[in-house]
């Protein structure tokens, strides 16, 4: 069982890894860039799926249980 902070950092690293890998793949693999599925370039489909995957991963993370102390509630910071 890992802590919530470590979970968030690992997920953020995973997001960066996906973004970098999907960005580089069509440049480093020309055959991949030329392939098509139903007339749509596979490289474009993969970028689409990657962004949807990043979205779903981000949405799947539950909020922190306690939501930490809540600074700045009424009155604080007012002059």
């Amino acid at each position: 069982m890992i802590g919530v902070a470590k979970r968030d950092v690992l997920c953020a690293a995973l997001v960066l890894l996906v973004v970098v890998a999907v960005g580089l793949a069509p440049m480093l693999l020309p055959g991949f860039a030329r392939a098509r599925i139903a007339g749509v370039p596979v490289s474009i489909l993969v970028v689409f799926l990657a962004t949807v995957g990043v979205l779903l991963l981000s949405l799947s993370l539950a909020p922190r249980a306690s939501s930490a102390p809540n600074r700045g509630q009424r009155g604080e910071g007012s002059r």
Partner: protein
């Protein structure tokens, strides 16, 4: 633009001015307490905050992304990848914790952990390094848009927008800015939905036809569907993606929106809703850019020759709307685009003024002064608008790409590393934070000056010393490394409990 289109655009522009004044006036009547002015009373709900966050998307990002897809095809997807990644990082790493730890500015997050004003001041300098080029570039864009759409002079556009922005933000503060952003987001999403449906209908809802037409019409042929027209290698692409992503995740005017919700949970909910919207809007705009190649490239009235568009490549989005929906819709869309500029620049100006007063004036110059922060911020808002307006009037030929690169480079190289390390690494010391921020700032600045945008385009040298337009691939790791080295070697000033 036809006469009918121009008349509708003028009417929509006038409506935007009246609407913005009305919203700002209504917000001002709600009260001008410090909490109301700086953080909208922390009463903005998650859904409304998500809409306001979508309202932060500038006209440049909508029209620019469509233009990238129109001119360079696949390479526009690097922008989408970066932006989606950046907003995902905000959701995962920052939104909830910023709301829990911060008060009015990003500097509050750091000052809660580190003694003294040094780190806060460093972040303030970086925040201003983001805000001033951003405001300046929005005023330049406003002047160019007003000139192109209405035939008024460039100077008139800058002055109208400068005064409009200053008055709206001075009157309405964060609450008025939030309302303007919400209305703008709703209008923009409605317009995008109409254009997207018309675009898909013109291709019989067949995606393959859109890409086949683009490859058939674009001078680059099939290459438009592959990377390489804009990015000249993996280093270029990676640097661009990281700048767009980490830059978005470090922009103060976006992050400060999370201070306006009642609690951290709603901050996270608003970030999740905003990310969903960012994914949808970016893909819709990219699809329109690809579709525009087949529809308006080479067409009389829209293109001069091939993909050379009347008014420049940034007009691809507006030309497509005019081609598909005619004069009336085009006119209304112009009004929405101008409201987009106003919403984006208002948030940046407010963020800059708040930083000036809270992180600089109160923290360094006069901590115990009697003047209220709201009054001082209103003066700062007028000052920021005046300075950015004068810059915009004096240098109409400014490279908007360079200004955007500066803003994103500082946000990615200073704000993002400092915030992430402060929030997640207990071992970060004050010395490490100072060293990391300073190295990020200096590396980003140095690489920008030695890079193609300044070294070649402005100073006239044949070849750049730093090969890339964006310094992020070097400056962000340098900032993290320096912060780590500064912390592990520090023997004094350990961080306070956080």
């Amino acid at each position: 633009v036809s006469i009918a289109g121009r008349e509708w655009a003028f009417a929509a522009f006038f409506a935007v001015i009246v609407l913005a004044f009305a919203l700002a006036w209504r917000a001002a009547r709600r009260g001008s307490s410090s909490e109301s002015f700086f953080v909208a009373g922390r009463r903005i709900g998650a859904k409304m905050n998500a809409l306001a966050l979508l309202g932060e998307m500038s006209a440049a990002s909508i029209m620019g992304t469509a233009a990238l897809a129109f001119s360079y095809g696949f390479d526009a997807l690097y922008s989408v990848l970066g932006v989606v990644g950046g907003w995902a990082l905000i959701l995962i790493l920052l939104a909830e914790r910023l709301r829990a730890k911060g008060n009015r500015t990003l500097g509050d997050v750091l000052s809660a952990r580190f003694e003294g004003s040094g780190v806060r001041l460093l972040l303030a300098v970086s925040a201003l390094g983001v805000a001033i080029p951003h405001t300046f570039s929005q005023f330049v864009a406003a002047g160019v848009l007003v000139k192109g759409l209405f035939g008024l002079s460039y100077e008139s556009g800058v002055i109208i927008f400068g005064v409009l922005t200053a008055v709206c933000v001075i009157l309405g503060g964060m609450l008025g800015t939030t309302w303007i952003q919400i209305v703008k987001a709703l209008l923009l999403i409605s317009c995008l939905a109409v254009i997207l449906v018309l675009t898909l209908a013109s291709y019989h809802f067949d995606l393959a036809t859109i890409f086949a037409s683009a490859a058939a019409v674009h001078p680059a042929g099939e290459a438009v569907l592959r990377p390489g027209l804009l990015m000249h290698g993996p280093f270029d692409a990676l640097s661009f993606v990281l700048t767009m992503g980490l830059g978005a995740a470090g922009l103060p005017h976006i992050l400060s929106r999370y201070f306006t919700v009642p609690d951290p949970r709603q901050a996270r909910q608003s970030a999740a809703l905003a990310l969903s919207g960012v994914v949808l809007i970016n893909w819709a705009v990219v699809l329109m850019g690809f579709a525009a190649i087949g529809l308006i490239a080479g067409r009389s009235g829209y293109a001069l020759e091939g993909i050379q568009l009347v008014g420049g490549e940034n007009m691809a989005f507006l030309h497509l709307a005019h081609y598909l929906a005619g004069d009336v819709f085009f006119g209304l869309l112009c009004g929405v685009v101008l409201m987009t500029v106003l919403a984006a620049v208002s948030a940046v100006v407010l963020s800059a003024a708040t930083t000036l007063i809270v992180d600089f004036y109160r923290a360094v110059v006069q901590p115990a002064g009697k003047a209220s922060d709201v009054l001082l911020s209103r003066i700062a808002i007028a000052l920021v608008c005046l300075i950015a307006g004068i810059f915009a009037l004096l240098s109409r030929q400014s490279n908007i790409g360079l200004l955007a690169a500066i803003a994103h480079a500082f946000a990615a190289s200073v704000n993002f590393p400092l915030l992430v390390l402060t929030l997640y690494w207990p071992g970060l010391t004050r010395r490490g934070a100072l060293l990391g921020g300073a190295v990020g700032f200096i590396t980003a600045l140095g690489a920008l000056i030695l890079g193609p945008l300044v070294w070649c385009d402005m100073l006239g040298f044949a070849a750049p010393i730093f090969p890339n337009h964006y310094p992020t691939l070097v400056s962000v790791p340098a900032a993290f490394l320096a912060a780590w080295l500064g912390s592990v070697r520090a023997r004094d000033a350990r961080a306070l409990d956080f």
